[in-house]
C-alpha cells in the first residue's frame, strides 16, 4: 500500500485530481445539508447575476438557485457514473473472462458479439435506448452500461488469454478445481489492476454521457442534474451565461479529476507502463 501510494504520489496531476475529486464527493455528500431547499423551487427573482451573497452562482429562468442545483446535481452525476461503470464492469468481466478462459467456439461467439456492440455508434444507441425505455435513473444506467461493457470485455479477455497458460492456473486445473473457481478466485485477482484503471476512466466517460443525455432532455425528470441545467438554460445563454457556465464547469472539473486519478492509478498499478523517464 505504501509502495502504491509512493508511486501514485509521483504523478502530481493525479494528486491534484484526487483532491478535487474528494472535494466534489464532499459537496455531493454534505452539500444538500448546506443548501437544504429543493433545487426545483423558486428561490428568488429570475436571472439574478452571480456573485451575490444570497445567490453566489445566480438564479435561472425560473428563479431557481444555480448553486443549489449544482450541489444536488453532483449526487446524480456521481451516482450514475459509478453505478453504470459497475454494471458495465460486471458484464464486461464475465464476458471477457469466459471468452478468454474457454477460448475456441465460446471465444468466437463472445468476440463477435463484442465487436457488434463496438461497431454500433454508442451515443446514438444510448439515446435510442433511453428514449424508448422512458428516461429515468434505471434506463440511463442500463443504457450507459450497454454501450460501455465491450471495451472491458476485450481488456479482460486479453488478460485471461495470457494468464490461463500460467503454472498456477494449470495447477488448479490439475487439482480439479471448477472453472468458476479458477476464473474468479485464481485468475481474476491477477487481472484486477487494468480493470481498476479502466474502470476509473469509465466513470469519467459515463458522467459525460449522462450529462449529454440530460442535456437532450433524456435525464431523470425527478432528479436535478448538471446536463439538465445546461439544456434548460440553453436558449437564454445570451441573457444569462451563468446558468449554463457553472454546471458545465462542474462537469469539466469532475471528469478532469477522474481522468487524472485514472492516470495516477495506471502509473501506480502498472509501473512498467509508467510514462516516467520518457
Amino acid at each position: 500500500m505504501t509502495e502504491f501510494w509512493r508511486r501514485y504520489r509521483r504523478n502530481k496531476g493525479a494528486v491534484a485530481g484526487l483532491v478535487v475529486l474528494a472535494l466534489i464527493l464532499l459537496v455531493a455528500a454534505l452539500g444538500p445539508l448546506a443548501w437544504p431547499g429543493s433545487p426545483w423551487d423558486m428561490a428568488g427573482v429570475p436571472f439574478q447575476p452571480p456573485f451575490s451573497a444570497e445567490h453566489p452562482l445566480g438564479t435561472d429562468t425560473l428563479g431557481r438557485d444555480v448553486a443549489t442545483g449544482i450541489v444536488h446535481g453532483a449526487r446524480v452525476s456521481l451516482l450514475i457514473g459509478f453505478v453504470a461503470t459497475l454494471a458495465a464492469l460486471g458484464v464486461g468481466v464475465v464476458v471477457g473472462a469466459v471468452a478468454g478462459y474457454f477460448g475456441g467456439r465460446v471465444d468466437d461467439v463472445a468476440m463477435r458479439l463484442t465487436e457488434f456492440f463496438q461497431t454500433i455508434p454508442s451515443f446514438v444507441f444510448a439515446v435510442v435506448l433511453v428514449a424508448i425505455f422512458t428516461p429515468g435513473i434505471g434506463s440511463i444506467v442500463a443504457a450507459i452500461a450497454t454501450v460501455s461493457w465491450p471495451a472491458v470485455a476485450r481488456l479482460v479477455r486479453g488478460e485471461f488469454l495470457t494468464l490461463r497458460t500460467r503454472e498456477f492456473v494449470q495447477a488448479s486445473v490439475v487439482l480439479g478445481r471448477s472453472a468458476r473457481h479458477i476464473i474468479f478466485v485464481e485468475i481474476l485477482p491477477n487481472a484486477i489492476s487494468p480493470i481498476i484503471v479502466s474502470g476509473s476512466l469509465m466513470v469519467a466517460t459515463a458522467i459525460l454521457v449522462e450529462s449529454s443525455l440530460s442535456f437532450l432532455g433524456l435525464g431523470d425528470p425527478n432528479m436535478m442534474s448538471w446536463g439538465y441545467m445546461i439544456g434548460a438554460s440553453r436558449s437564454v445563454v445570451r441573457l444569462a451565461w451563468w446558468c449554463s457556465f457553472f454546471p458545465g464547469l462542474a462537469i469539466l472539473l469532475t471528469v478532469l479529476a477522474l481522468n487524472l486519478v485514472g492516470e495516477g492509478l495506471s502509473d501506480a498499478l502498472n509501473p512498467r507502463l509508467s510514462r516516467e523517464g520518457r
Partner: protein, 325 residues
C-alpha cells in the same frame, strides 16, 4: 486476388452487422413498454386508430414473431423506414434530406481534429519534457474532459453574442440569397464553430495518441540505424518516425467515426445545424420513434462504411497487415 477476397469478406461482415442492427431495432420496438404499433406511430400518431390499424397490417403485428421480423426486415431492405406521423413525411425522405449536412459537419470535424491533433502531438513529442510539451498535454487533458454541448454554448456566447464574429445557428444566413463564392463563404462561416466544437474532444485524443506513438517509435532500432547512417534529424522525423507513428492514429480515427456522429447530436442541437443529429433530437422531443430508429440505422451504416474504408486503406498502406485475419 487475396486483397479482393479480403475486401469481399469485410463487405460481407459489414452487411451482416447492418442486418444485426435492423434486428436490434425490431427487438427494441417489441421490448419497449406499450403497444408496438403505438411505439412506431410515435406519441402524435398513437391517437389515430386508423393509422395504428395500418401499421399492424403493414408489419403483421397480429402474426407470429418471426413473420413480424421478416415483414420488418423486408420493409427496411426496400428502403421503407416507415412514416413520421409527426412530420407527415416518409422517414427515408427526412433522412436523405438531413444526412448531407451531417456528413459535411462530421467530415470537417474529422479532418480538423486529425490535422490539429497530429500536429500538436508531434510538437509535444519533439519537445518531450519541456514546458511546451506540458502545455499541450494540459490543454489536451482539458478538452478531453469538456462536454461538447457546453463548449458549443460558451462559443456561441463568446463569439456570436459578445464579439459578433460568427453566426450562432443554422447553416446559411436567413433572408439573403447568395450564390457562388459568397454562398460557400457564408456556409464556411456557419460551419466553423460547430465543426471546431465537435473536433476539440477528438483533437485531444489524437494529440495524446500521436505523442505516445511518436515517443515509442523514436526509440526503435530502425530509427537508431538511420541516425547512425547520418540521416538528418528532420528527415528522420518525417520519413522514419512520423510515417510509422501516424498509422495507428489514423486507423483509430477511422474506427472512432461513430463517436463523431454521436457528438453531432448534441452539437447540431446547440447550433441548430439541419442534420440528422438535430433530427434525432427533434425525434426524441416528439417521441417519434420511427425517425429515431431510422437515424440509428443510418448512422450505423455510415460507421460500418467508414470502418470498411479504413480497413481497406490500411491494408493498402501497410503491407505487413495479415489479410483475411
Amino acid at each position: 486476388m487475396e486483397r479482393l477476397e479480403y475486401i469481399a469478406q469485410r463487405l460481407l461482415k459489414g452487411v451482416l452487422v447492418l442486418i444485426g442492427i435492423v434486428v436490434l431495432n425490431f427487438l427494441l420496438i417489441r421490448l419497449a413498454p406499450g403497444d408496438p404499433a403505438a411505439v412506431m406511430a410515435g406519441e402524435a400518431g398513437a391517437a389515430d386508430e386508423l393509422f395504428l390499424q395500418q401499421l399492424r397490417q403493414q408489419f403483421g403485428l397480429d402474426r407470429p414473431l418471426w413473420e413480424q421480423l421478416w415483414a420488418y426486415l423486408s420493409n427496411i431492405l426496400s428502403f421503407d423506414f416507415g412514416f413520421s406521423y409527426r412530420q407527415q413525411r416518409p422517414v427515408i425522405d427526412l433522412l436523405a434530406e438531413r444526412l448531407p449536412p451531417t456528413l459535411l459537419l462530421t467530415g470537417t470535424a474529422f479532418v480538423l481534429s486529425l490535422a490539429a491533433g497530429v500536429t500538436l502531438g508531434v510538437m509535444a513529442a519533439r519537445r518531450a519534457g519541456r514546458w511546451s510539451d506540458s502545455a499541450i498535454t494540459v490543454v489536451a487533458l482539458f478538452f478531453y474532459a469538456t462536454p461538447l454541448f457546453w463548449v458549443g454554448l460558451m462559443g456561441v456566447f463568446l463569439f456570436s453574442v459578445t464579439l459578433g464574429w460568427l453566426p450562432a445557428f443554422g447553416m446559411a444566413s436567413v433572408g439573403v440569397t447568395l450564390t457562388g463564392f459568397d454562398h460557400v463563404a457564408d456556409l464556411a462561416r456557419h460551419l466553423l464553430m460547430p465543426a471546431l466544437t465537435l473536433a476539440l474532444f477528438h483533437m485531444a485524443v489524437y494529440a495524446r495518441m500521436t505523442r505516445a506513438s511518436m515517443l515509442e517509435v523514436r526509440d526503435q532500432d530502425f530509427v537508431r540505424t538511420a541516425r547512425a547512417k547520418g540521416v538528418g534529424e528532420g528527415r528522420i522525423l518525417r520519413r522514419h518516425v512520423l510515417r510509422n507513428a501516424i498509422l495507428p492514429v489514423v486507423t483509430i480515427a477511422g474506427m472512432k467515426a461513430g463517436y463523431l456522429l454521436g457528438g453531432s447530436i448534441v452539437v447540431e442541437t446547440v447550433f441548430a445545424w439541419p442534420g440528422i443529429g438535430r433530427l434525432a433530437y427533434e425525434a426524441v422531443l416528439q417521441r417519434d420513434y420511427n425517425v429515431l430508429l431510422g437515424v440509428f440505422l443510418v448512422t450505423s451504416a455510415v460507421v460500418i462504411a467508414v470502418n470498411l474504408a479504413t480497413d481497406v486503406v490500411y491494408s493498402l498502406v501497410d503491407p505487413r497487415i495479415e489479410l483475411g485475419a
